[in-house]
């Protein structure tokens, strides 16, 4: 009998073994570049040796046999750009049907064929944070992607060693979708707070019911009745346990401060605010209690709550000690995040290093991956971009982009058609204005929105 159990157990373990997709790792020696490490200054005429996907050595006169050598004399090498708020490579963005949907996982709906990944690579972006939309007070579990474009397997895109994150949203979107749209809570900003508080309180009770059950099981001969399972509440209780970083869509200072207070009350410290157009008003509070703010350089006025905005936001936040990043939130901005960062420098006179940090090490910190990517340091993963010019110059054009030492973009080897799959019948495939059935985009709201940006993934 025991033997049979062992065999069954072994079979189950084998069944659980995920089809081991081997992520590709590359080796390359980049010579004579101006290396913008972001964390360790700028190194002129320096070589970077990558072995098996990891930055092995940074120095001068490095050699290695049998690996590709790239002469980057006169060119700039920077860490792969990281987009802390994005929606590329997703089949669905909003499960906008309930005010809390913490049970849904963006990892379930990755579209590995999205050409947006290649376009992002052409803009030097190697990591993006594929997020749930902003229809719900508490949205879904996000997924951090490495842009390993070319595989049809979504698993190959997932950055497995990234921290877990979840989407929250405040203000007009959740109140419009659920309150005005469906006549349920939240109907106001107060309602959004109540929904979040109720969620956390329910999660505390849920966690206790399972703890009680599991403790009761330990008693010999006990026959406790199992509670109901809810991934929704389970996920919320993991937020309370500090296992998941909140990334919260927000604009107004009062709301940002509200959620800071809610988090303090529930003992949550892992929170990043996204968009944060009025963040400059609460910069000291953001610096003291959060993992920072991820903002736009100069994008606002697309709805009422986004009018009070300034192009100095990123600089004010940075100078107040807030970990600040600049994100794309769109398939178009993602192609020139280095320009977006440049705007923050243009207005706020940040240093080159502070500015580059907005799109490299700072978003890495906000995603819980700063020990792995976000700067050029020995031992880190080799996500790298070679630019023809300084990346903050308006003349900068990415030349090559590497993820884990593998070259995924080369401006000199850039065929016209980089689609991974095509229709078997149509030469011109349909383009939808609203590619994702986005609940925030109904009717009149559409006209309040920047039309050009609506063509792409539009989820701000």
């Amino acid at each position: 009998m025991k033997k049979i159990i062992y065999i069954i157990a072994a079979a189950m373990v084998m069944g659980w073994n995920p089809a081991n997709s081997q992520t590709q790792k590359g080796s390359v020696l980049i010579k004579n570049a101006t290396v913008l490490t972001v964390t360790k200054g700028t190194l002129e005429d320096t070589d970077v040796l990558v072995e098996n996907g990891i930055i092995k050595k940074i120095g001068k006169g490095l050699t290695s046999s049998n690996i590709t050598t790239i002469d980057a004399k006169g060119k700039y090498l920077m860490p792969g750009i990281i987009d802390a708020h994005s929606h590329v490579a997703l089949d669905a963005v909003n499960e906008g049907t309930a005010p809390i949907t913490s049970e849904v996982r963006m990892a379930d709906v990755i579209d590995p064929y999205d050409i947006g990944l290649y376009r992002a690579l052409a803009g030097g972006v190697t990591v993006s944070h594929a997020m749930h939309g902003s229809a719900n007070a508490i949205g879904g579990q996000n997924i951090t992607l490495k842009h390993r474009y070319g595989s049809g397997n979504p698993d190959d895109l997932i950055m497995k060693d990234a921290a877990r994150t979840i989407k929250f949203a405040l203000g007009e979107n959740p109140t419009r979708v659920h309150g005005r749209g469906n006549g349920i809570q939240p109907r106001s900003r107060m309602g959004v707070e109540a929904v979040i508080r109720n969620g956390f309180n329910e999660a505390i009770q849920y966690k206790k019911s399972w703890e009680d059950y599991n403790n009761a099981l330990k008693v010999k001969g006990a026959t406790p009745v199992p509670p109901k399972f809810s991934e929704r509440l389970q996920t919320l209780s993991e937020i309370l346990d500090g296992k998941i970083i909140i990334h919260c869509h927000s604009y107004r200072a009062d709301e940002i401060y509200m959620l800071i207070n809610v988090c303090r009350e529930f003992g949550i410290t892992n929170i990043v605010f996204s968009h944060v157009n009025e963040g400059f008003k609460v910069a000291p509070e953001l610096a003291a209690y959060t993992m920072g703010a991820s903002v736009f350089a100069d994008w606002w006025a697309y709805k009422f709550e986004v009018y009070y905005s300034t192009a100095y936001n990123a600089a004010i936040l940075t100078q107040n000690g807030v970990i600040t990043s600049i994100n794309s939130d769109s398939g178009e901005l993602i192609r020139h995040l280095y320009h977006e960062a440049g705007k923050a420098q243009r207005y706020g006179e940040l240093t080159d290093e502070q500015t580059l940090a907005l799109i490299t090490i700072n978003p890495a910190k906000q995603l819980g991956i700063a020990d792995k990517v976000g700067s050029i340091e020995e031992g880190k993963q080799a996500d790298l971009v070679i630019f023809n010019d300084h990346p903050l110059s308006v003349y900068a054009i990415p030349q090559m982009t590497f993820v884990d030492g593998v070259k995924y973009f080369d401006i000199n080897e850039d065929p016209n058609d980089m689609r991974l799959r095509v229709s078997a019948t149509e030469s011109i495939e349909p383009i939808f204005l609203k590619e994702h059935d986005h609940k925030c985009m109904h009717g009149v709201d559409f006209f309040f929105t920047n039309f050009g940006r609506s063509l792409f993934d539009h989820e701000h």
């Binding site: 089809a19 089949d91 049907t97 049970e103 709906v109 809810s230 030469s427």
Partner: protein, 565 residues
């Protein structure tokens, strides 16, 4: 004369008369009456299972079962003998997933306190307790269509949302029987949000994945609770929930989940749910299988591949007339198209046993699509296996169906040529031991066709047609003009949006031999429906079918009239 004998004589005459009546009724394609349950097909070429063919052999059927097959069979006196000297017999096709004759369940009323964020299961598309047999119409014309293409058994899929209900396996036999072989044979699941509104949870694949996990896990917990309650005292009673109860056979792995998938991305999603939860999985539909071969193999999932193939819009493209960019794009579409034709052969060479499903396909395309798949690398044996024994195994009915063997159910097709021969036609179908006869058309006059003169039918002109639909009889006109080598035309029909007639352009008018086919678009209820028409032209008469892919196919008759204004 002894009066008793006199009576006997009358009875005998009566009996003879009756049986004579029955013989007359034999050509009745509805197969409603039969002379005798014993039938012998004599001296045919019989393929009993893929790769096993016996020439000059006889198959004897008795009361719905195969009594004997072989070259040396004694045919009993009561047998109806069909001389099949030049005919080819194969096991009847089995359709892994069909909607033939399947109606819709009534949509539930919205409750007064309806909350779209937390709808009742029924409104979320979660109805595992539904049994497809409850909405199965044994007499639906679609069954005739599919049987006419060789299908004798089908697994019926209930219409509905993400967990629509339980499937059933039926035989396409005589209408007087329920024809049910098994019920509650699998659970039908698809990546579809709540019905009717994307504002109701779950509304997207995100929500569907999460909701599936939720329902599955809670079914396991509810099952544990029920078992504890049954064998212990001092426990709270379990809250009986009909969703969970209906899913016990799935979590107990007694029946598989039939997961409808469209492409490799959805296949991976279904496989990941299987990996997490451990249910038995049959993939229904799907494409781009070449990308997920290893994953399917390691999961032990079974596959029911659709017989549908994409329309060929590109292989005959006039490349030289295209711009360089369009040439490159067209080349990629051609490759993608070829790859779709190779799906079955990819599965065969990977050693994944698969069956076919009619899901999404048109009955009239069955043989054409099979030939296309075989031209693209599928072996003939694998094609037959996918139509018969493989599907039987996936449905768990291989003990009594799928091959021609003594003791199995008498389901077979009788063809005028080998299965994949271009000229082959179905002459008879035997389903559940009943014979269904079909008209075999004379071979085309090859010369006439090629010259485009002698054999070509004069279809141009003005036609009047009638069609019988479940909503009543409908009528209209066809006006066809010949333009060079092709035809143009207009069809009128009862306006679906109100009174009077509406008209549409006839598309893809094709005349092949005496077979005329075309399609047209009808705008109804805010959507565009494609109606396909195909039929036989015989002088001034057209006899055929008018089919709306999802809604069934209806007989249509037209007569050519001298046009009068």
């Amino acid at each position: 004369m002894n009066p008793k004998i006199q009576v006997f004589k009358h009875v005998l005459v009566l009996a003879l008369f009756l049986s004579f009546q029955n013989i007359k009724a034999q050509s009745d394609p509805s197969g409603e009456k039969r002379v005798t349950g014993t039938i012998a097909f004599k001296n045919a070429t019989i393929t009993t299972s893929p790769g096993k063919t016996i020439p000059n052999s006889t198959v004897l059927i008795k009361n719905g079962l195969i009594e004997a097959i072989g070259t040396n069979i004694t045919i009993p006196k009561e047998a109806q003998v069909i001389l099949a000297d030049s005919l080819f017999i194969y096991p009847g096709f089995i359709d892994g997933a069909s909607s033939a004759g399947v109606g819709k369940f009534a949509d539930p009323e919205k409750p007064a306190n309806f909350n779209p964020a937390n709808p009742p299961d029924e409104m979320a598309g979660i109805t595992p307790w539904r049994n497809v047999i409850d909405v199965f119409d044994n007499k639906n014309n679609q069954i005739n269509d599919w049987r006419k293409s060789g299908f004798t058994i089908a697994q019926l899929i209930p219409d509905g949302g993400m967990i629509s209900g339980k499937t059933a396996v039926v035989v396409f036999g005589n209408q007087s029987s329920t024809n049910i072989l098994s019920q509650n044979s699998a659970l039908s699941v698809k990546f579809q949000g709540a019905r009717g509104s994307s504002r109701v949870y779950p509304g997207t694949p995100l929500g569907v994945m999460a909701k599936f996990r939720d329902v599955y896990k809670n079914t396991e917990l509810a099952s544990r609770h029920s078992k504890l309650f049954a064998s212990n005292s001092g426990l709270n009673r379990p809250e009986i929930n009909k969703t969970y109860e209906a899913l016990y056979p799935v979590v107990d792995k007694n029946i598989p989940v039939l997961f409808e998938v469209s492409d490799d991305i959805e296949i991976r999603r279904a496989l990941s749910l299987q990996k997490e939860n451990g249910f038995r999985l049959v993939l229904l539909g799907g494409s781009n299988f070449e990308k997920v071969i290893n994953e399917i193999k390691s999961s032990n999932a079974q596959v029911l591949l659709s017989l549908k193939l994409p329309d060929d819009k590109v292989t005959k493209a006039k490349m030289e007339e295209l711009s360089e960019e369009m040439q490159a794009r067209t080349k990629r579409i051609q490759e993608a198209y070829q790859s779709q034709l190779k799906q079955a052969s990819y599965l065969e060479s990977a050693g994944i046993p698969f069956g076919f499903t009619s899901s999404g396909s048109k009955s009239g395309d069955t043989f054409k699509n099979l030939r296309l798949m075989v031209e693209n690398g599928l072996s003939e044996n694998a094609a037959l296996a996918a139509l018969t024994i493989n599907t039987a195994t996936i449905l768990g009915i291989q003990k009594y169906a799928g091959t021609l063997e003594k003791g199995k159910l008498a389901n077979m097709i009788i063809l005028t040529a080998p299965l994949l021969d271009e000229e082959t036609q179905i002459k008879h179908v035997v389903a559940d031991g009943y014979i269904f006869d079909y008209e075999v058309k004379a071979k085309k006059n090859g010369n006439g066709d090629k010259n485009g003169n002698n054999g070509a039918m004069a279809i141009d002109g003005f036609w009047e047609y009638t069609s019988d639909t479940p909503a009543g009889s409908s009528s209209g006109t066809l006006e066809i003009k010949k333009e060079g080598d092709s035809f143009k035309g207009t069809i009128t029909y009862d306006n679906p949006g109100g009174s009077g007639k509406a008209s549409s352009e006839m598309k893809n008018i094709t005349l092949s031999g005496s077979n005329l086919s075309f399609s047209f678009d009808v705008a109804a209820g805010g959507m565009s429906l494609v109606v396909n028409v195909s039929g036989e032209v015989n002088g001034d008469r057209l006899t055929g079918n008018l089919s709306l892919s999802e809604y069934g196919s209806f007989p249509m008759n037209a007569t050519k009239k001298p046009k009068s204004f």
